[in-house]
């Protein structure tokens, strides 16, 4: 039985459990003339959850565990035959003994593999070839045996899986139905389950964090074995080179990141906030209904377009103003790519992150607060600045943080707009680059992947991760401190 069938059967059992438990609860309530603790549906849901929850969980665990278990049983056999290394996995593939139930081989779906029993060493290769499946080598008897062994084990496993999962579902349903008595707190049970789901959803964030840290940490450690940490953290030059002797100081990159993000926020926050205020407080309903999604389109334009916009339009424009011989005659700018260019364009991209979210939050501030202020003779702008915005502050800070986060994490605009120069300079018209841009370039570049020049990408990612974590802790503290709770 394939897992999807098992899952379907479990769901069917859950549905049946729902109907039966519900009916039983209602019947009991009528007979005994007493009120149910919860609405009848909750009794139904309890049975359904008891039936489906553990069973599906078991199925998932089983699906993950069985291949590992089978493998560990068959592996020694194969290793004896093929020697060390990963070759056995290919030998398995050779006999195409993918355990049924794992992702269905698309090829097999189109042209069924020969019946398992005929998996005879000599003929197999020809047989498979006739179906357009090339095998690299003849199948040795040992491989064949191992394959058959594998198939036997996984066949048993599959059977056991079906029985166990469906049995569990039935037991769960029965338990749920049995408990469907009026005094059973079905709603609480259902809500506990829902709460469990909510908590697991929240924990996904932790899991991703753990995943990210794990994905980065080994290579980061490897990097620090090859390159001194002190030079990485405190070095002021960034100049990787293929021939070794690279200087990989993170400071110029961090500086570029902060500088560009700062400029981007200086653009996005005022524009976004004013736009949000205008949309929520002044604009006509229809204007708002259309302007807001239009602004949101800015968030959806692929960043490469922004990058090109920076490179082709904004950069040259800025040079004409601030460059040598520009309108302003300042000569501050050397080339079109600069912190300013990237910052401005990134700011544009971030406008909707500030505006749309803030607009929703501002709109949610109760009208009575506005009335209170207007009733005192405040103008609308005074009301907004002094009553509405403070009340909406936590949400707005959230929006700004989101925008800041995006600014820190953005790559493409920086690559095209800011130039690739790692430099510590105060001049916003100088080219600089950011941590993320360098993560991408070192990761996708040509350096030896086991060299510090490539591994540094992981260390950069890790450092950035830790720094933003610290920034977020501070932000959380600030928000807690200044929160104005209305009502």
């Amino acid at each position: 039985m394939s897992p999807s069938w098992i899952a379907l059967i479990v769901l069917a059992i859950a549905a049946a459990g729902f109907v039966l438990a519900r009916a039983r609860a209602q019947g009991a309530a009528k007979r005994e003339e007493r009120r149910l603790h919860s609405l009848p549906n909750y009794y139904g849901w309890t049975a359904a959850i008891y039936a489906a929850g553990p069973a599906l969980l078991l199925l998932a665990v089983w699906l993950l565990a069985q291949p590992v278990a089978t493998r560990s049983l068959v592996w020694p056999v194969l290793e004896a035959e093929a020697g060390e290394g990963a070759a056995p996995s290919l030998m398995m593939a050779t006999c195409n003994v993918s355990p049924p139930g794992s992702t269905p081989p698309s090829r097999a779906a189109r042209s069924p593999t020969p019946p398992r029993a005929t998996c005879r060493p000599r003929r197999l290769r020809a047989q498979m070839a006739s179906q357009g499946v090339a095998l690299g080598s003849d199948v040795t008897p040992a491989t064949r045996d191992a394959a058959l062994h594998w198939r036997r084990i996984s066949g048993t496993g599959d059977l056991a899986r079906g029985i166990a999962v469906i049995g569990l579902a039935l037991a769960g349903a029965a338990w749920g139905i049995r408990r469907a008595r009026p005094d059973f707190r079905a709603r609480n049970a259902v809500e506990r389950a829902m709460r469990g789901v909510l908590i697991s959803a929240a924990l996904i964030a932790i899991l991703s964090t753990v995943g990210i840290v794990l994905a980065l940490v080994f290579n980061t450690i490897e990097f620090f074995r090859l390159y001194p940490a002190a030079e990485f953290f405190f070095g002021t030059t960034w100049s990787p080179s293929f021939g070794g002797g690279s200087e990989l100081g993170i400071l110029p990159l961090l500086w570029g990141t902060l500088y560009i993000s700062l400029i981007a926020l200086l653009v996005a926050v005022p524009i976004g906030l004013f736009a949000a205020v205008y949309l929520a407080e002044y604009a006509h309903r229809n204007v708002r209904a259309w302007a807001k999604p239009m602004l949101e389109m800015l968030a959806g334009i692929p960043t490469i377009v922004y990058g090109l916009f920076a490179l082709l339009t904004v950069g040259p424009l800025l040079v004409e103003a601030f460059g040598r011989g520009g309108w302003l005659g300042l000569g501050w700018m050397q080339g079109g790519t600069a912190v300013m260019t990237a910052g401005l364009v990134m700011g544009i991209m971030l406008i909707p992150f500030v505006s749309s979210l803030s607009d929703d939050i501002i709109n949610a501030v109760p009208q009575s607060l506005r009335d209170g202020s207007l009733g005192l003779g405040a103008t609308r702008s005074e009301t907004i600045r002094q009553v509405v915005l403070p009340a909406a502050l936590p949400g707005i800070v959230g929006a700004v943080l989101l925008a800041a986060s995006r600014a820190i994490g953005e790559t493409m605009i920086v690559v095209l707009g800011a130039g690739a120069a790692a430099r510590l300079s105060m001049n916003p018209f100088d080219a600089m680059t950011t941590v993320t841009a360098k993560i991408v370039s070192q990761l996708t570049g040509d350096a030896d992947f086991s060299s510090p020049e490539a591994l540094v990408a992981f260390a950069l990612g890790m450092t950035l991760f830790v720094i933003t974590l610290a920034l977020n802790v501070v932000a959380l503290w600030i928000v807690r401190r200044y929160r104005e709770q209305y009502e």
Partner: protein, 454 residues
């Protein structure tokens, strides 16, 4: 700006004495009204600036990309010579299939020479050079046709073949005779032929459905490249993202905002979520490669994996905006529900959530828009490059078979050498924006239903 400004709090200009007429605005009020008008003007200006940028970007996109939606074709009569395609004459499909596309090239050469003769244009071009007029896909086009219908062998069929990107560029005004002087891919003489054939109605420019429905093509034939398959890849990815990130994001936010006790653990989760928003998207690619492909053995280049990675990437956006809007629902609503004996869960699902809906939708739109346009993480899980050439064969295949995605396709095209790809990249962006527009439209409608002030 959120605090009461100190300037003006203790002003020199005292308010007008009591009893002044209402019809005369006093100086202080005038001043405040000016501030008011300024404030409103800032709002309009901010909105205007935003719109201006949008228009500028859209203009750039449209002016660069609209040409991708037309394409030039050449009408050609090709003799399907039996001696070339089926030497034995027994129409055995297996044998016919042995003839590779290289075997069809001479037929096309022949057809072109015939055409030159038939239309009576003088040219010094060698027959082989003539094929530069056509896309290098011509042979494959022809071969597919023959394989589908071996009976055609021996006849002369009239086929419509893609013109090469240079010819197409000429008809679109991108390529000039002068620029061809140093171009070894096409000569000005070819253009004479094109001009003549265009007058004869044998070369024409039409709406390019193949661009919308087709698959990517290799670098040597931009004229054949389409975004259709990548669009499907994006669609499947977005399905995964929507199905996972919206419920998970909303559930996580509800837990954190409504149920979680204030303790270290929830603080940790909260900080973590905001921090995830700042993680560069490529790092999610590293994560996806390690977890989904290397650890969980999901297939490479699969929209399912792409969707999972993008889900992780969008979650923080959705969670942060959902939490912000949950926070802004006044507590009295919750109290009212609890007071009539609703459980906390019921209070949240029945009252708080609907009120927070506009914000949740906003977050979802922003998150999905971001996911729809993201390339970097796809780079590491194998969805950027030259990926899918066929439509998936079913829904399961749609999730699991190798595919690209629209932004990856666009990114890929934007890098390629032939300027015809550049035009397609912008055309792809237009398609992407249409997608986005459709998503926004749904959100607008939904948001309208949920929005209210109380």
């Amino acid at each position: 700006m959120t605090d009461i400004p100190q300037s003006g709090a203790f002003p020199a200009d005292r308010p007008a004495p009591k009893g002044g007429s209402l019809l005369v605005t006093d100086a202080r009020t005038k001043k405040r009204n000016r501030a008011e008008r300024r404030f409103k003007a800032y709002g309009i200006a901010a909105l205007g600036i935003g719109m201006l940028f949008l228009v500028a970007l859209l203009w750039a996109i449209l002016s660069n990309g609209l040409t991708a939606f037309t394409q030039s074709y050449v009408q050609l009569d090709v003799p399907l010579l039996e001696e070339k395609l089926d030497k034995d004459g027994d129409r055995d499909p297996a044998k016919i299939a042995k003839v590779s596309t290289f075997g069809y090239a001479p037929l096309i050469e022949q057809a072109l020479t015939d055409l030159v003769e038939r239309t009576g244009v003088e040219t010094e071009l060698a027959p082989k050079a003539l094929t530069k007029i056509l896309s290098s896909s011509a042979a494959a086009q022809l071969r597919d046709r023959v394989l589908a219908n071996p009976e055609l062998i021996g006849q002369t069929v009239s086929v419509e073949l893609l013109a090469s990107s240079r010819v197409d560029g000429y008809l679109k005004g991108r390529v000039s005779r002068a620029s061809l002087a140093r171009d070894k891919n096409l000569d000005a003489e070819h253009l004479d032929l094109i001009d003549a054939w265009r007058d004869a109605g044998l070369v024409e420019k039409r709406f390019n459905w193949d661009f919308i429905t087709g698959a990517d093509a290799s670098d040597s034939r931009p004229e054949q490249a389409g975004i259709g398959v990548a669009m499907l890849g994006s669609l499947f990815m977005m399905l995964v993202v929507l199905i996972l990130s919206l419920p998970i994001g909303v559930a996580a936010s509800i837990y954190l905002e409504e149920f979680a006790p204030q303790n270290r653990l929830t603080d940790l989760i909260e900080v973590n979520i905001s921090n995830l928003a700042a993680v560069p998207s490529i790092v999610f690619g590293i994560l996806g490669l390690a977890v989904f492909i290397q650890f969980m053995h999901l297939p490479q280049s699969a929209p399912l994996v792409g969707g999972l990675v993008l889900t992780l990437m969008t979650l923080p956006t959705i969670i942060i905006s959902t939490r912000a809007s949950l926070k802004s629902v006044p507590p009295s609503i919750r109290n009212a529900a609890l007071g009539v004996g609703a459980s906390k869960m019921q209070a949240v699902t029945h009252h708080v959530l609907p009120l927070a809906m506009p914000g949740i939708l906003t977050g979802t739109i922003l998150g999905l828009a971001q996911a729809l346009g993201e390339t970097a993480p796809l780079l590491l899980i194998g969805m950027v490059g030259y990926i899918a050439t066929n439509y998936p064969e079913g829904v399961a295949e749609g999730f699991l078979a190798p595919n690209s995605a629209m932004p990856a396709q666009i990114y890929e095209w934007a890098k390629r050498a032939d300027p015809a790809f550049y035009e397609r990249a912008w055309g792809g962006i237009i398609v992407l924006l249409v997608f986005l527009l459709a998503m926004n439209l749904i959100a607008v409608l939904l948001r309208r239903r949920f929005e209210r002030r109380w």
